[in-house]
Amino acid sequence: MTDTPIKILICALGGEGGGVLAEWLFELATRTNFFVQSTSVPGVAQRTGATTYYVEVYPVAKADLGDRRPIFSLNPVAGDLDFLVSSELLETARQTRAGMVTADKTRVLTSISRVYTNAEKMNLSDGRIDSSALIEEISQSSKDVISFDMAAIAAEENTVVSAVLFGAIAASSVLPIPRDLFESVIESSGRGVQASLRGFDRAYSQTLSTITGDTGDGPEQVSLTVDSFTASQTIPEIGFLPLSVQQLVTLGIERTAEYQNVSYASSYTDRVINVAKVERLSAGGEAGDFGVTAEVARYLALWMCFDDIVKVARLKSKSDRINRIRQDLKADHEDVVHVYDFLKPGIPEIAGLLPPFLAAPLMLYHRRRVESGKRALSFPMKLRASSVFGYGLFRLLGSFKWLRTFGSRFQEEQQLIEQWLLGVTASFTESPRVAFEVARSGRLIKGYGSTNERGRDNLLHILETVLPNLSTTETEKAVVIRSIVDAAQADEEGENFSSELLKRKLPQKPIVAQPIRWYKKP
């Protein structure tokens, strides 16, 4: 005869079916003739609320108890939880931090899937919390952990994650109840039964194999695989580089060739080899890992293929695009799909394609207009890419590749690229680590319009003002540059950037005059 009930805490996000799961457990226990109590703190749809459901089951048949009744607790107590079931990894970590999970008795059953928080999403580069760190913390605080990607299973079987969680609970033998009773509860629920049963079954087998097999793995790492890249694909000039770097460079060559033409691709190769030669020299002529060259190869390819009207038009008129969208929407063959692209080219985008003598007066007009407080002139449109007209227009615009090299933006970007590359190669005189960080700062260049301008301004500030003014020793220099680059990508307003510069006693960016905008009272 057990003293205490089995205590299960269910954590889910709003809309994931945590309440359904609690009801199922309740129903399950009732059918087994156990006493059960469940309480809940429900939330709202999506991630508006994290929802928790607390279920206590007294695993003794009612008949055996006679007149006695178990006393249940209304809420979970830290330090006294048998089982934590969660559909999202951060929620599990949150409950662990709150003390709900203890190493002496709490078993954890969690999905490794994540729903990102706004703070993680807002970072200009990658603000995602490292899942393996979360899993590590949870593992250390708990008795044992069963973890796998439940959201993926739920999506694949077209069901809700509650069925998946139910299957995992069944397989983990938290409750001394046979599997078919679990399934009978799902069957009587009446809604989406087949899909739920499939999800249940997959979770059941996955949990068993996790328990009997080895530990639950962390999220898979997506990385470049070198195995598919054979030596026969090597371009001779870059043969002296390690395979992984060659792979990056080859990708870059393909990109630049597709973006413009073959001679553009060979200017890319020349630039990369230039950096590689300087790197090899600085390593004393030995074969190193060419880390700086790899970094340059990556960001140079992206920068040389900057986003202009022609590139966007080409991307939007790729032959399989409409079909891909149809697939994403799960459209049947007879369904009609309309796609409206949101475009808003402004004067800078148009001037970018024109030669400097035409672009200059346009940009002057643009600047004067913005400075005087008026809104910048732009041409917003919602172009129907699924119509012959829209598609034809995209193809027409995409055919203006030849115009690009005469355009003002092309020449500007090449100039800036050279400036950056010079900064990289010059930094080798300091140390390869500093050169690496300067190469890495190429990541600041991305995006469209004001986003792109901001990244460009930040990079220029680093190249022109920060680098010459660094007075610290060699290793510290690399750390300083890295922290400044990361600060530039921490927020949009540039506050992190400024405060980092202040911390390092470096000059700030010059203050740009902001126009005062006048609006008529409606």
Binding site: N118, L315, F342, P380, K446
Partner: protein
């Protein structure tokens, strides 16, 4: 087309506008994607459009049980587009 800057996420608070790993091996930063929970309100797109953020947004409309005329127009358009695509 997404550059991985996430300005759209900073402007919109929608939980369905989330991150996914970049399919481009050259880029490292995650890109924006719309998850299954999207109810199709269009706010994220309108915001990005007004703020001139990014040409990545599009609105996809799916017409179920189209009228015979709509179907004909659709098939013709797709045929013409695939001819244009080959050139």
């Amino acid at each position: 087309v997404c550059s991985g800057d996430h300005a759209c996420m900073r402007i919109s608070g929608c939980p369905s506008l989330t991150l996914k790993d970049n399919p481009d091996p050259l880029k490292e930063d995650p890109v924006a994607t719309i998850s299954d929970g999207c109810v199709g309100c269009g706010l994220c797109g309108e915001n990005a459009h007004s703020a001139t953020l990014c040409p990545s947004f599009y609105r996809a409309e799916i017409v179920k049980n189209p009228k015979p005329w709509e179907r004909v127009v659709n098939h013709l358009s797709r045929a013409v587009m695939s001819v244009i695509a080959k050139n």
